[in-house]
């Protein structure tokens, strides 16, 4: 189990190294001349590449952060074992849900979101 978590954390870190760089570079580039929220949304809506990129980003975060947090908690607190793993699985799910919701929100048109 430790081996799988170790590999998952390293692999997700490799994805994040790429994704965070692209994310930051895009922000810096896109807003250099001043950009409104509407203009940002106009570029992100219906952009499949954009959506796929952020879904990948969110997946990597949801894998990477709970494993790292698990290591820190196990090392610095007496909180161990199954309760900790369950708590962090829930944390991973929250990250996944919030991240996916944010990606969908800037990808789909408002009508689709409001139903």
């Amino acid at each position: 189990m430790t081996a799988i978590l170790f590999i998952a954390q390293r692999a997700s870190a490799a994805v994040l190294a790429f994704a965070v760089s692209v994310h930051l570079a895009t922000i810096l580039y896109a807003v250099r001349g001043g950009l409104t929220a509407g203009e940002v949304l106009a570029r992100t809506r219906d952009n499949h590449w954009f959506f796929a990129f952020y879904v990948l980003f969110v997946l990597a975060v949801a894998v990477h952060a709970p494993i790292g947090l698990r290591n820190v908690i196990r090392e610095w607190t007496p909180f161990h074992g199954r309760p900790l793993d369950v708590a962090l699985a829930m944390f991973a799910f929250v990250l996944l849900a919030l991240g996916f919701r944010a990606a969908v929100a800037v990808y789909l048109p408002p009508e689709a979101l409001l139903g």
């Binding site: 430790t2 081996a3 799988i4 170790f6 590999i7 390293r10 196990r74 090392e75």
Partner: protein, 254 residues
Amino acid sequence: MSPGSESTLSVDVWRGATEGRFQTFQVPRRAQQTILDVVTEIQRDQDATLSYRFACRVGMCGSCAMVVNGRPRWTCRTRVGEAVGDGGKLQLEPLRNMTVVKDLAVDMAAFFDKWRDAKGHFEPSLISQDGGRTPPMEPQADFHIVPPSTPERRAADAGIECIGCGVCHSACDVVTWNEDYLGPAPLNRAWTLVNDVRDAGNDARIDAVSGSAGCHACHSHMSCTEFCPRGISPTYSIAGLKRAMISRALGRKP
């Protein structure tokens, strides 16, 4: 001779066990004097109740390691001039991360138990006695020569000179935080055996070092590498074990 004069050395020595205090001794400075010479002189001439451990006096046995002015090191191979800073004072403590038996002597049993837990023993590969018709049952009859110039032998050589002095164990922060952590020396031993082409115990060994107290717990602070008197890099060995573990988890031979 008055304390503090150039030809006298002021030495604070730990007395007691886990609880204790420093006792100050004045020891004459001598040319080429080692820290072990100083401790021996205190024990012989000033306080026969001082406990410490040594055997070979030449950096082969690893039994005289102590913390000298905050740094874990072999006392037999450390000259006073090297260890004493501008202040001219010497402070001697027992190795950290081990139970103090008395004064400068520590109990190394838990340290060596971790070598066992990391499967730090050679597991001979067995061969079939009749050219493969029966399953391999017997150890090879003759020495299995691994020529010194081969990459296999050089890989095994990288960490093989460890003499188990415990300096790295004393220097490691992760050992301090997590008493279950196997530590740099047992992991270095495991990596040496992983690289030994004659050894057949890698499945159990990589399992043993892959747990939460194994190679993953290392923070790569590199204190072990910094302080190792043999110039070994246990940090490199631990990184190697992580790679071997990944290879094995992905179904490849380490």
